[in-house]
Amino acid sequence: MELLIIPFALGLISFIVPKNNIRFFGLIGSLVPAVLTVFHLSGYTPGTLTEVFSIKEDIIFGLTFTMHYDGIALLMMLLTAFSFPLIFLSNYNRELSSSPLFHALAFFMQTGLFGVFIAGDGVLFYIFWEFTLIPIFLILYWFGNGNYTTLVKFFIYTMVGSLAMLLSLIWLKQYAVSFAYGDLIAAQLSEKEGFWIMAGFMLAFAIKIPVFPFHTWQPNTYSTAPMAGTMLLSALMLKMALYGMIKWMIPLAPEGLANMKWIVVVLGIIGIIYGGIIAIKQTDIKKIFAYASISHLGLIAAGIMIFSQNAISASMIQIINHSILSIGLFLVAEVLISRTGTQDITQMGGIAEKAPKFAFWFMIITFASVSIPFSAGFIGEFLLLREISQFKLSLGILAASTLVFGAIYMIRAYQLSMSGHKENLQFADLTWNEWVVFCILGVLALIFGLAPYLIGDMVKESALQLTYIVAN
């Protein structure tokens, strides 16, 4: 319960903290949930389901207040808790950092994210899932660059998906005692019902991830959002959907998996290729990274649908990796945009001469993003591609194109923006806070690249249990 109360309280306190101390308060305050999750980690035995705070009775129309986490959820909680200090730190010397409103909304969002990951009840999951949408929408609305059509599109798109998920939950409840996770899993469905229930969940998740035909809200939203908003969206919000696929969608309606697997894997692979090709042609730096994100996440979504123990572990590694990368990439984008005043990479160039520190770290992030060996991306993508190839070799080969496309669009972005020579270029090098963020991200990518078992060990047992549920 303290996992929900502390971020929420921090959010409320943000309103009363004086304006010139708020960024310091945000940074220090966001470390508290981080410490808390580490505390939870220290008491965690792999493979168990740890209860957090539960009222098991039927509270209202079958909703129970069950809260627990397994290894996968705990990893997501750690990711959430540690992303916030990084996001606040990268935001430290920007305009947004002096806004109490922004910090409050970010903390409210953290409450919602923790809720999503510890929810042990279908409706509770849905409630927190929707709850996260409100703060992020307000952040984008108040601090974005004012493209309201994009925002409305984003909100309506995600709402339509969520309502489909609600329909699926209500449908599923017809066969279950209550909305508690265990009861929902115990529900027996026919193959057809399983497919449609899964389709409802999948629509919600596919829109949020986003998987190929549902992605149209994403690039514009990213390019209108402020940096911190984009980071929150891509590093945390989208991961919620991937987590939902692993933990909720497939175990709840495994009867539909056989049919749904094909659809999502194929869509995911279309996303990989489509996102990659579009990213190569883009000139807006934020849009390049947005399409790159579609490409990367398509691979993860396809991998999750294979749903073997290795596929889940690999997806988790890749989820963590992508969060690290997206914070790094959007910080890069912000550094470039705020100092050159344009989002167009063809108008940049020659920056490497002026800002060697930035050039170095951008290069590191680029390398991690194209998944060279010893970066976290390598092991994750390699395992995912192996699992997809075992499912269907031809699909595996198509999916492997992500490596090629990734190299092209990332190195193109780097080359156009950084290399060359430009007369009279004013470009300040990294400030200390940006440098610290890049250092942490770089080191993390390296650590998880060298020792992916840190993540693998945590999720292995839970993943095995989930595959066991699905197999039976």
Binding site: I60, F61, G62, V123, Y126, I127, E130, F131, L133, I134, L138, Y141, W142, Y148, L151, V152, F155, I156, M159, V160, L163, A164, L166, L167, I170, W171, K173, Q174
Partner: protein, 448 residues
């Protein structure tokens, strides 16, 4: 029973106190009357548990009484400023609202068609007057006239329907009618079905559902804001609950006949309400269309009368308080031109209005964790088993609704430094705070 008497008496007192032209005094008397009435009634229900022949408040409907009384109380509070502007007529306004409410309470507790009809008339007649109470405004007079003509027509239909049903079964008692319709389903003459049809038409008119929804927009827009709030929250609540009891208790035997018709009415109403609301630029008209849609969702509980009225209760807590909060905010900003655009930035500059506005709009859009979500989810959940497609379309409509309310939210919360800072007086602060609490925690009403 006691509640009706006490509220009626306090209405009479406030009517005569109007002579003194002291709005605060009238306000205090009315609200005290409401509070005492509700408390005495709850005391009687809880400790004495007496039974009456025609009218009964028991476990199943006491919460509806409490909700209706509370909503009326805070609507009177929120209309304080409006009343202050016209001290000469304050007594009339608050008295008429209380008269109307005491009729509404008959509609909540009725056990007999006679009481039902009486309640419906006492509820409606003051409303015709209130709708036209802004005497100098043409649209207000239009609203009153339209409401009166169409309302009387619906009443006539209802009366005719009651007569036909009575002619068939020979009793006014709704439980007996229920028994007869269950036992002799095959032998009922067509006269009975015509009666059911007429009653159905009249009730659909009263709750403003398709195909009798045409009056809603004009009447709501023309009426003064306070009374429009009353109509779309309290009257809607009472109307739908009466509908639920009437059909659930009287005609379970001929269910197949009327459920189909209600399903069609709900289906079309949802779309009409939402699609008409999409491009409105005046706030009250938008809320009128939104009330058609929300009424349609609430009507689903009539279909699932077997599962009880909990869903309706929670739904109406969410919807009723949202309407009160939103209309209070609207009254603060504009009372005459009623443009949506004049709300711009108000919520951003005034934190209390902003928070309440966001919560109310999210609640009416059905986004968790507000009460509106719980209500909607319960209603849909109950209806899902038998009417899966209807619920699917209702969820689609919720998505359209989200767009409508999101647009208002965005207008209200616009980052506009030139927006007015509004000073709230105590009654408005109280109304907004109560609404906020009810919208966040209102679903716990099931535990009281």
């Amino acid at each position: 029973m006691e509640a009706i008497v006490i509220i009626f008496i306090s209405a009479l007192i406030s009517l005569f106190l109007g002579i003194l032209k002291k709005p605060t005094l009238v306000m205090v008397v009315s609200i005290a009357g409401l509070a005492i009435g509700a408390i005495v009634q709850n005391y009687e229900w809880y400790f004495l548990n007496e039974k009456y022949q025609l009218l009964d408040f028991n476990d199943s409907n006491i919460q509806f009484l409490n909700l209706a009384v509370t909503l009326t109380g805070i609507i009177i509070l929120s209309g304080y400023k409006h009343f202050m502007d016209e001290p000469a007529t304050i007594g009339d306004f608050s008295a008429l609202m209380l008269f109307s409410l005491s009729g509404g309470l008959c509609l909540i507790g009725f056990k007999d068609l006679f009481m039902f009809f009486l309640g419906l008339e006492i509820l409606s007649i003051p409303l015709y007057v209130l709708a036209g109470s802004k005497k100098k405004s043409a649209s207000s007079s239009e609203a009153a006239l339209k409401y009166f003509y169409l309302g009387s027509f619906a009443t006539a239909l209802l009366l005719f329907g009651i007569a036909l049903v009575y002619g068939t079964v020979g009793t006014f008692n709704i439980e007996k009618i229920g028994f007869i319709s269950m036992l002799f389903t095959d032998q009922l003459p067509s006269m009975f079905f015509v009666g059911v049809l007429f009653m159905l038409a009249a009730m659909l008119f009263k709750v403003g559902a398709f195909p009798f929804h045409f009056w809603v927009a004009d009447v709501y827009q023309g009426s003064p804001s306070v009374f429009m709030t009353y109509m779309s929250s309290v009257v809607k609540l009472i109307g739908i609950y009466a509908f639920y009891r009437l059909f659930g208790m009287m005609f379970p035997g001929v269910e197949t006949f009327w459920t189909t018709l209600i399903v069609i009415a709900i289906f079309v109403s949802m779309f009409i309400g939402n699609l008409s609301a999409l491009n409105q630029d005046t706030f009250k008209r938008l809320m009128a269309f939104s009330s058609i849609t929300n009424g349609a969702y609430a009507l689903m509980t009539v279909l699932t009368y077997k599962s009880g009225s909990d869903a309706l209760l929670v739904y109406m807590v969410g919807y009723g308080f949202s309407v009160v909060a939103l209309m209070t905010i609207n009254m603060l900003v504009n009372d005459n031109d009623d443009k949506l655009s004049s709300l711009a930035g108000i919520g951003y500059k005034n934190p209390l209005i902003g928070v309440v506005g966001i919560v109310a709009l999210l609640s009416v859009a059905g986004i968790p964790p507000m009460t509106g979500f719980f209500g909607k989810a319960m209603v849909f959940y109950q209806a899902f088993e038998e009417n899966m497609w209807l619920v699917s379309f209702a969820l689609l409509n919720s998505a359209i609704g989200v767009y409508i309310y999101l647009k208002i939210t965005m207008t209200l919360m616009k980052k506009d430094d030139n927006a007015a800072v509004i000073s709230l007086n105590w009654s408005q602060q109280l109304v907004l705070s109560i609404s906020l609490l009810a919208l966040l925690f209102g679903w716990t009403i099931l535990y009281f």
